[in-house]
Amino acid sequence: MPDRPQPRFPEPDTQPFWEATKEHRLLYQVDRDTGDVVFFPRRHNPKNGSSNLEWRESKGLGTVYTFSVVRLNRHPVFAGLGPYAVAYVDLDEGFRMLTNIVNVADPTKDIFIGQRVKLTWLDQSTGISIPVFEPA
């Protein structure tokens, strides 16, 4: 399969996240002082401006918050996929990420809000891997 549109660098906020995907590790940030979970990755905790953050690795288990099945996409890579699901998944560690739900027979029938999902990966020729989810 051809590569998806790729994250682009230099971009220091998200570079560590994407570097870790090369080892199939899903990272998120936590404020060392308050425990606040920060996602998408950035230089500070958006609740207080503090940059005293550390990276942690997610277990990759979560719940579908909402989703849509895209039927029309004019981008050549996505046009070739057929109907595919984009979703927000709430990870058990407390962060919400935009992702895809894959490995279902019919995305219009086999995905639902509240569904438990687990992490899987789409390896790219660039070396990075895109974190997506499948039914747990």
Binding site: P7, R8, D13, T14, F17, F40, P46, R71, L72, N73
Partner: protein, 397 residues
């Protein structure tokens, strides 16, 4: 009791009539609309001393637009927050006029989105521009603009039992208004709509699914277009050609998806109460609601968040035929036909101000009898991820 202030009024409006304008530039559309809106007000080109621009014509917005127009304004505001920019501009113009910084403010918009064949709703991030954290976290997933709104619709249905049928009623009401508006009918003709007529709930449900649960007829059109609004100080407004339409309340807000947030709640939940408080009016007093209809779900969420009904009850609220201009129930919705059926060149916030003004002047093609109060609520950006809300409350003279 707040004392309602009448610091600034809309005195001139113009909507670019064409929705397909090949060979014309956004700057030319802006200039033509500016000239016609000033003419509508009975003001001249040289009266303008405040320039408001959402960066839709050229780079270095305040500079290049001022030079192209030939203005040397006292106030330049280039707030660019997507489709709600014009509600933000109206709020800022009111503030700037009340502070004595300018007397005649000009807002313009021009777009050739249709002629440029921009795939606004169905292209994901293409990796243009400088790398950014948000783009890096979203570009690989094939999220389209329509899917973004669809995720809000899906969640709203899950939380509140809202149905596709209820969403469809919004498209049905605005199409009925569009069929009464010759410019909207011409727009649908020029944009080659397959079947130009009033539509039913079944028509919407039977149109093809674009991104579940949004069908083709839940989505706005992509057109060319533009417009202009002239806002003036009270002493100027008194001598204008048409009756002033007063800006009596304004609210601005930002919202975005956060860990654990409820994406069915839009920025209107913040901007609405601010605008109502400043205007000292309640939603149930509003005769006409001009609400950004990029999609049917946009309207449903914003009717709730503006307080026309309780959160989660939007589906039932729009089921009562109340949205039509001739309904005895308030408010009438998008009486020009809206973005769903009249025009949507990418950022349609200015048309909300224009049609609300027409209503309060008694000039709409779907005129609400005796309309006295209107609201224009714009949405900028994308509902499920990051967006802005701009609420403007307007009163007749």
């Amino acid at each position: 009791m707040v004392t309602q202030r009448r610091d600034a009024a809309i005195v001139g409006i113009y909507e670019y009539p064409k929705r397909k304008a090949p060979g014309v530039t956004p700057l030319q559309i802006k200039a033509e609309c500016a000239a016609r809106a000033l003419e509508d007000a009975g003001l001249s080109w040289k009266d303008v001393d405040g320039l408001y621009d959402a960066q839709d014509g050229a780079g270095m917005a305040g500079l290049s637009l001022a030079e192209y127009f030939g203005f040397k304004p006292n106030v330049i505001d280039t707030t660019a927050v997507g489709g709600s920019s014009y509600e933000f501009h109206a709020a800022h113009a009111k503030r700037d006029i009340a502070a004595g910084r300018c007397r005649v403010a000009l807002l313009t918009y021009g777009s050739t989105a249709h002629s440029d064949a921009r795939r606004i709703g169905t292209m994901p991030g293409m990796g243009g521009g400088a790398p950014s954290p948000l783009a890096n976290m979203t570009d690989p997933y094939g999220m389209t603009l329509i899917a973004n709104y669809a995720m809000v619709a899906r969640r709203h249905m899950h939380q509140y039992g809202t149905t596709s049928e209820q969403l469809a009623r919004i498209a049905v009401a605005t199409r009925a208004h569009a069929m009464r508006n010759p410019q909207a009918v011409q727009a649908m003709t020029d944009l080659e709509f397959q079947d130009i007529r009033e539509i039913t709930v079944d028509d919407v449900l039977n149109s093809r699914m674009i991104a579940d649960p949004l069908h083709l007829l839940d989505c706005c059109m992509v057109s060319d277009g533009g417009g202009a609004v002239v806002i003036a100080a009270p002493e100027v407004a008194r001598d204008c050609r048409k009756k002033p339409v007063w800006i009596i309340g304004a609210g601005e807000a930002t919202s975005y998806s956060e860990n654990g947030s409820d994406i069915t709640i839009s920025a209107a939940a913040q901007s609405g109460p601010r605008a109502w408080a400043e205007a000292d009016v309640r939603p149930d007093e509003i005769d006409v609601a001009m609400i950004y209809d990029s999609f049917t779900i946009t309207v449903l969420v914003m009717l709730e968040d503006l307080g026309f009904c309780k959160k989660g009850e939007g589906g039932a609220f729009v089921s009562e035929q109340r949205l039509r201009f001739d309904s005895p129930l308030k408010p009438a919705l998008n009486t020009d036909g809206g973005g769903l059926s009249s025009n949507h060149p990418g950022m349609r916030g200015i048309f909300l101000l224009i049609e609300a003004t027409r209503q309060l002047r008694g000039e709409s093609t779907s005129q609400v009898p005796g309309a006295r109060l209107a609201v224009a609520h714009g949405n900028g950006g994308m509902l499920a991820t990051s967006h802005t809300g701009g609420t403007i409350v307007l009163a007749g003279d």
